[in-house]
Symmetry: C2
Subunit: 209 residues, 2 copies
């Protein structure tokens, strides 16, 4: 049994899981790698390889049991484990993420939001309170929160990241378009929305030479 899947495997397993959730709702019991391949535009053999990593085998000519495969992915990707999270920056995107009631399912537990704007503090969004940013170090320590979603304006991103790191945050999900300069041991995921948009659309707008 491997300890940790590669990032690419985690990403693909999450996508398979999305299909399985929909299939459960639709009352579909089995799915083949060919069907997953068509839906996700991922190579058939890659899908079989990924699912083999779960030590799970499909049934010949029927495919994978939707229910079993869904449960195994949930277990191996630790959906049932609570992952406590702070949102830093209560702007439009921060509020939108706080209101996403889909996240709970994945163990993704948003505890509170933080902002430097006094006008926003004290308000609650879906039972999650917005605190002044100055309260973050104390709350992070008392609640043992190590994960933060960063949605502050670009110009404040590095300063906010430094503050989070000083407060004991180890994992930063970075939605700002700023690349953060962080010390070793701090994990950053750059949510590269612009990159994704370009990957989707760029074959429409031929590259100029």
């Amino acid at each position: 049994m491997i300890d940790r899947f590669s990032n690419k495997v985690i990403s693909r397993l999450t996508l398979y899981h999305c299909v399985l959730v929909d299939y459960i709702e639709q009352g579909i019991n089995f799915v083949s790698s060919t069907k997953l391949s068509k839906l996700l535009n991922i190579d058939d053999s890659q899908i079989r390889k990924d699912i083999k990593l779960l030590d799970y085998k499909g049934k010949c000519k029927v495919g994978y049991s939707v229910k079993d495969l869904k449960e195994i992915i949930e277990k191996r990707l630790t959906f049932s484990k609570n992952k406590d999270v702070f949102i830093v920056g209560a702007g439009n995107l921060g509020l939108a993420l706080a209101k996403n009631d889909n996240f709970d399912y994945y163990g993704f537990n948003i505890l509170a939001l933080f902002d430097s704007n006094d006008l926003k503090t004290g308000i609650s969004i879906d039972e999650k309170q917005i605190f002044h940013i100055s309260k973050l170090p104390d709350l992070a320590q008392r609640l043992g929160v190590k994960i933060a979603i960063l949605t502050v304006p670009h110009s404040q991103a590095q300063k906010a990241a430094n503050f989070l790191i000083d407060s004991g945050i180890k994992y930063i999900w970075n939605f700002t378009q700023c690349i953060l300069d962080v010390p070793e041991g701090i994990h950053v995921w750059n949510e590269n929305l612009i990159g994704h948009f370009l990957q989707l659309t760029i074959d429409d707008t031929q590259i100029e030479s």
Copy 2:
């Protein structure tokens, strides 16, 4: 000169570009592949390989000119070309994306939002009007819009996608957690937020065997 970069190259070039934008602001004139490597946690040799694809060479011992490299990436990734976009679903996330004034820079031009809720239609968000979804086919055709951002609730995602495709939309940036079943020739980018969150955090919560 290659016609189109691979998705991975596009993604990385966008990240390099983010660093270059910050460096211009900070008045830094040169950057090395080593520095980019450290900031982005991408292998040094990979960065040099990517930049070589742009037919651009750095200066020995000084590195890449920040200004030149930024301009070349912008040209090759067609930032100056307008890419007209509709947002479908004027919920929290749709509104947050509509309000992102950073997108313009990349040629990413949000023209309007659409929703099935009559209470939302007629309102404008940052000069972008929310129309009733029934107006989309006509507007898409008249304005020649081929790209849509899908931010409707999960339960309505497939139905909305079918409607978009019937209306001539060819590129769907899918923010719902639903995997869309689309015909050939339709391009979908699944914005796999859950997958990204898990990739960031999963080494914290050891995989159970």
